[in-house]
Symmetry: C2
Subunit: 192 residues, 2 copies
């Protein structure tokens, strides 16, 4: 704990909020904020999905993670990353993690453990994703809504540097989750 950090900070007051743009998947909300020092500002942010999504770190063995290679319409190229997806209505985090793993990697997991929750860009997105470690995998494929078959790519946890060096790996959430799991395996005495 840092001694310089003030324990309490008064949140800005939200004076007004309204939707200023909307599409099928996205909505933009405009906020009028008054900070505790009296300064007023207009912010825009994306409307946040009601529940966090799920990001899975599937270990096919204690030293090897399964990545997927999927087309990213945002970056207009195929990208390596971890399997992930939104929770369906009434579905729990562990259930979503196992479903996405079966759909995207063709495996189920006997052991699933939520590790932490990550945000994308707290300044203008409330989007959250729960990182779930999946172990003790067994082959189990279910059909998802993917437009084409997803390629599954085993990758050594010891070689995160090699992944960063690739042009088709860039997603911060996947990278953060991989470091976290690698550290965890090292703490368990596994040489990765």
């Amino acid at each position: 704990m840092c001694p310089k950090m003030s324990p309490v900070k008064i949140h800005p007051e939200i004076l007004e909020r309204r939707i200023v743009a909307r599409s099928r998947l996205f909505a933009v909300e405009q906020l009028e904020l008054r900070f505790s020092n009296g300064v007023e500002r207009t912010y825009e942010r994306l409307l946040t999905p009601p529940i966090p999504a799920v990001l899975v770190v599937p270990l096919i063995d204690p030293k090897t993670v399964l990545l997927i290679r999927e087309y990213g319409a945002g970056v207009e190229r195929y990208e390596l990353g971890l399997p992930k997806g939104a929770r369906s209505q009434g579905e729990g985090v562990i259930e979503t993690a196992n479903r996405e793993l079966m759909e995207e990697c063709g495996y189920g997991a006997r052991t699933l453990e939520p590790l932490t929750e990550l945000t994308l860009s707290p300044g203008y997105m409330g989007h959250r994703i729960v990182v779930v470690l999946a172990e003790d995998l067994y082959p189990q494929k279910i059909e998802g809504d993917e437009p084409e078959e997803i390629e599954v790519v085993p990758w050594p946890l010891a070689d995160i540097d090699g992944l960063i060096a690739r042009e088709d790996f860039s997603e911060a959430r996947s990278l953060a989750a991989l470091y976290m799991v690698r550290d965890r395996q090292r703490a368990r005495g596994i040489d990765v």
Copy 2:
């Protein structure tokens, strides 16, 4: 390099693109895609800023990073994270990094080195951010456009776990960049 990974993958054809929603800061683009297997899908993505933003990892000493504590309108709370910002017109990556560091932390850096580029959510955002390591700091404050003074919080690189455990630290890009710099310091023989 994984032997199972196919070297070439034919990108989907973009049949049509149009803006379906727009606000002051955001725009949503709808894409009609035809995958190489003939399947057609409609995607939505955020319009991407023309140039990458910059994320700074400022080391006040070889074992300590400077975090900032700033209100995140997306998550409606104060969040710890690394200083970052968009590049101004004609501004280079290193220049932006040093400017943001002066505005948000009150330091300039004599050594600035781009490490890698991260994306936010490749599926529906093209947004990119360059991670810049800043070292050899010296006090230098310039005024930014922040609505209130930003709190600067020194944090030991050795205690990433302590940061993850906090409720006010969650941003995947900051976390990925911190792991990356910690690994780099360890590779230099620094005990963090």
